[in-house]
Point group: C2
Chain length 433, copies 2
Amino acid sequence: MKLLPCVALFGLCLAHSAHAQPPSLPDPTSVRLDRLQLMQGFPPAADRRVTAGSYMRQYPQARWAFHHMRELLPSRSIPRGAGPASPLPAGADRSAEIEALRFNGASGELSFAEYLKNTYTDGVIVLLEGKVVYQRYFGMPEEQPHIMWSMTKSMIGLIATQLIHEGKLDAEALVTDYLPELADSGWKGATVQQVLNMTADVSYSEVYADAESDVVKYAMAAGMSPVPADYPGARSLYDYLPSIPGKGNHGREFQYRTVHTEVLGWILRRVTGQDSAQMIGERIWSPLGTEHEAYMLLDPAGTEWAGAGMNASLRDLARFGEMLRNDGAFNGRQIVAPQVLASIREGADRELFKASGRIGQDGYSYRNQFWISHNRDGAFELLGVHGQMIHVNPAAGLVLVRLSSHPVAASAAHFPTTRPAMAALAELLRTKR
Amino acid sequence: MKLLPCVALFGLCLAHSAHAQPPSLPDPTSVRLDRLQLMQGFPPAADRRVTAGSYMRQYPQARWAFHHMRELLPSRSIPRGAGPASPLPAGADRSAEIEALRFNGASGELSFAEYLKNTYTDGVIVLLEGKVVYQRYFGMPEEQPHIMWSMTKSMIGLIATQLIHEGKLDAEALVTDYLPELADSGWKGATVQQVLNMTADVSYSEVYADAESDVVKYAMAAGMSPVPADYPGARSLYDYLPSIPGKGNHGREFQYRTVHTEVLGWILRRVTGQDSAQMIGERIWSPLGTEHEAYMLLDPAGTEWAGAGMNASLRDLARFGEMLRNDGAFNGRQIVAPQVLASIREGADRELFKASGRIGQDGYSYRNQFWISHNRDGAFELLGVHGQMIHVNPAAGLVLVRLSSHPVAASAAHFPTTRPAMAALAELLRTKR
């Protein structure tokens, strides 16, 4: 199996390979943001422009686009409230140790600094017991919101789990109990819990390298790039989702499909009467005392991409990750119930997960839109498709947030090296506190 | 002369009439935001949707769209800094008196409350000597940024005047000294000051009701609505501006043309090396201690609409207006130099202004992107095309900010009544302090 090269349609790639750095990828040094000089000047030079029509097709435009998404597409503000930002205290600076840390990746030994470079990191922060011990930006301004891609799913999953805890959402109810619009779709007969765990069965392929893949229809419906005038498919998420068929074999296996989270987002809106931005703002973002702007990207009908569209700054995601590590509490405030985190960390059926053949994630399960490692430290993760990650290791007291713009649209492109990287980092910090 | 009805292309209208409320306008009561229920529900009802393609064509969609512009179009955040919001102290509540105030408008006597309703006001605030004596929202949430339309011009003009004061911009230099790209355009031979005062002469018509008018080409270049695939014209402001011709009769008369401000915005970016959002944020919005989000709308190439694209909340615009009243100072801080306000308030040549035949603005002049009344109180204004207004009356200690979504795209639609309304308000507050 090999990593397929990027294709023209969305510039996204599928990876089914253990080769994390195939030779066709651009040299990370050559696509450093400061060297690229994208969108500098008035107007920018012709070969340095980034537009809604080009950012997904022409790597390395993603390196700029991923922290300027609202400048390309419509968006909705996530309210943070009027209060001051909560403290994010600094600990002893461990930068030198962390960057020098050597470990064995998928293609041999490397340093943590090399790992960050090789995974096209835009910004990274490490918290140990709630204190910042490492923080670095690679050309991205600190206050800038960066697209989370599929880490957005976990935000929606967290709120869903909290609503279940509050008795406002029934995990065992049918999807169609909440969304009669889906009565003739593949979600017929599926439960909310099956959507949460992505074991509901819909006929939908998420193969980024295939121009015929359903994920392209999803991207068109979401308006991720301008849609050609003669495009015959759905032009909004609410139009697209009911058209997805299925065979009804729910609960048999885990298959990662972004449209499940779009359905989940729709259910939550119907249950709460709030749009996703408002919901995230009131329940999570304001209570956290976030520092910078955050927003959701919208489809052409004004609906948030629940499966991909949240944008937030590195430090605010660190606050969020620290709250996850602390069983839902942050800065002296219980933001989601401890039972919510306990339920998520339990994980799901690892046998159902195996079927998906995820590279580098043996032994994992996927529960309520979180990746659960089931390792001895109880580590769990949020993952975005171009290398974005929040890694929470409760036993080591560790939270790492990475924002990135990896050219390959698949966790498989870095995960075989990411996993030992996280283990080595935990070991370093655990043994030398 | 009559008010032309709205036309299909952008739903904007030209007004050359003293009839402020022709019978063809929708009853303001029937288009109250709470009654319209636009974009409510998931999904909204088919006849309650607002999109980038419809908001300008189908009034009353503007009533929702004008305070949700970033949900329709790309935008760039105006940074407000990390500090707390500055105080905007409350004074004695004068709501009852103000709403009951009766005065003679263009079509007979009416109350101030009726005036606000008849001008499709979304939100209004009145400050007397820096204290809020009246504040009301008509269905728009307080924290919501509302499009300022041409009030944006005054923000750009203010910064330009400050840069002139700092010696960084030469008012008497040629436009082409800063922008050689315009050497073959209508701006050839025009000075910066002529652009500031809109006496530079370019062959450009701003007739909203005429589908052949140049303002439509401007709207297309700015990306105000989706541009048809077969549209042959410019698709960005930087592509459009150099194509505008002229006869070189600069300095002969005032003619209101939004493209002058786009040129001015371009000059300021070149002089400062900052985009408009960053410039406004650093020089004005952060020092003011603003409270809510603010942003600039962008063309498809990522360039701000310097002539129309700023969005801000009512209370933040009140802070801005109060700073203008106080010769550039607010909350104990000098934000622009007193000389800057003195220069603006001087006004420009009223004879040159006359030629434009502006309805209801006899005796006015236009200087550095501000409307100067030359009345005995020294009142001056910022005006937006759908009734948005900041009215500053230094002698009466009065600042009024109105955000609105008037169906007629012309100040002439309300100005013959607005002018006596402002005079009556000043009289009320002056005599009963």
